[in-house]
């Protein structure tokens, strides 16, 4: 699971994909996940990092993270070959 090359994210959580021209806004949580992806962290490592930040169970976090990553894949922010659900 790798983030697409050259994805830029601002301090405000504004994402720009220079390959497609698409832009998106995300909240602080999304921004943190993108930052961790840019550091090369995998799904389990991201989950570990997020677990301490939210007063919720790991299963809920896991589901929300999977949803978010699926959305990133759909928007071509994750490399097509590494996005969740890719063959």
């Amino acid at each position: 699971m790798k983030i697409s090359q050259n994805i830029a994210i601002s301090e405000n959580g504004f994402l720009f994909n220079p390959a497609t021209g698409d832009s998106f806004s995300t909240n602080d949580t999304g921004k943190e996940i993108v930052r961790l992806l840019q550091e090369g962290k995998n799904q389990a490592q991201i989950l570990d990092a997020m677990e301490g930040l939210f007063a919720t169970d790991r299963a809920s976090l896991e589901k929300d993270l999977a949803d978010f990553l699926y959305m990133l894949g759909n928007y071509r922010i994750l490399d097509a070959n590494t996005a969740p659900g890719s063959l």
Binding site: A8, F16, P18, A19, T20, G21
Partner: protein, 356 residues
């Protein structure tokens, strides 16, 4: 043209530009003029060429120094040449940049005479090059230059249209010879599109394979000897009901740039062009159209660091501008509309005297 710089350190140069119709389906003239106004090397005097008294550029005096009506392309080269002889007796035009598809044929035919008789330079493709990239023969053009182009049939009659439908897969695209395109998902929709488009734009009509994907466009400039002087790719962000870009962003797409530079080189394209591609989900690129002029969004290229109209003037004057390989990614353009308040005297002047 004086080759010595004036007091501002820039070389004086008079350029005639057409396409002043800065309307909802804008001509490229005003963006070309704004690009020329950004030049640090030339001090341009801009002469506008118009076909209609309501072209907004006529009244934009901060951008256009003087304007003249010219005969419609249908009047032919004789009437155009006569008008340009008059213009040149008053002005001292160094370079002429035509910006309408429909007028290019006349200007290409006149180009040698314009230079030899009037000293007006142009930088245009030959008639052969111009006709070779026409949408009716674009598939063959693509095969010749190694670019994928959707398969298309050119039909001149309703019987030919029905025969084309028999061997087509839906959805397909019905296209007018100059403008307009409609996607059809059935024979009924295709037939309706055929009648509508042929009534508006005449025959032939094109029946083209539909390619699903994202439209990406490139504005480029070729030196006619196989060198791509500049190229900037853009994706439309907001499209008007006429299919025109109202907003767009420069993108980073090395494969698109490689393809475009290779096409300009292989075709030895001379002058500006707009390459319209469809990028499929599989990362394939299909050339949908090649327009033989600057696009109306060419000013974005200036914002990205490449002034194509200025480089075109260099080429027309026989200079060899260096290739511009870099551009800024993520630069956006957003159009706006604004009311110009003009006096009836100005409208009267251009309408009756043909000059403003």
């Amino acid at each position: 043209m004086k080759s010595t710089p004036n007091a501002s350190g820039r070389i004086p140069c008079t350029v005639a530009v057409s396409g002043l119709n800065n309307v909802d389906s804008p001509g490229p003239g005003m963006p070309v003029i704004r690009a020329l106004r950004q030049s640090h090397r030339y001090d341009f005097r801009i002469v506008g060429l118009s076909y209609d008294s309501l072209e907004p550029g006529l009244y934009m005096h901060d951008l256009v120094d003087k304007s003249y009506q010219v005969p419609l392309p249908s009047a032919g080269t004789g009437a155009l040449m006569e008008r340009l002889r008059y213009l040149q007796s008053v002005e001292n035009i160094d370079v002429l940049i035509p910006n309408f598809d429909a007028e290019l044929h006349n200007f290409i035919r006149l180009a040698p005479t314009l230079e030899s008789e009037l000293g007006i330079r142009t930088f245009l493709p030959s008639l052969q090059e111009f006709d070779a990239r026409h949408k009716a023969v674009l598939h063959e053009y693509g095969q010749l230059h190694g670019v994928k182009v959707p398969v298309a049939s050119t039909v001149f009659t309703i019987n030919e249209f029905h025969r084309a439908l028999d061997v087509s897969v839906y959805p397909l695209v019905v296209k007018g010879k100059y403008y307009d395109a409609q996607i059809a998902h059935s024979a009924d929709e295709a037939l309706s599109a055929f009648y509508k488009i042929s009534a508006k734009w005449g025959l032939p009509v094109l029946v083209q394979q539909y390619v699903r994907g994202t439209e990406v466009n490139v504005t480029a400039l070729g030196d006619g000897a196989g060198k791509c002087i500049g190229a900037v790719p853009m994706r439309k962000l907001y499209i008007t009901d006429k299919g025109k870009a109202w907003a767009g962003v420069s993108i980073e797409d090395p494969e698109l740039m490689r393809l475009s530079a290779a096409l300009v080189a292989s075709a030895r394209w001379k002058g500006p062009c707009e390459l319209e591609y469809m990028r499929t989900e599989d990362g394939e690129y299909y050339l949908m159209e090649m327009n033989p002029r600057f696009p109306a969004w060419v000013y974005l290229a200036v914002g990205c660091g490449q002034n194509h109209p200025e480089a075109l003037v260099d080429l027309a004057l026989g200079q060899k501008p260096p290739a511009m390989n870099d551009y800024e990614v993520g630069k956006m353009f957003i159009r706006y509309s604004q009311d110009l308040v003009v006096s009836m005297q100005e409208f009267e002047k251009i309408s009756t005297l043909g000059e403003l």
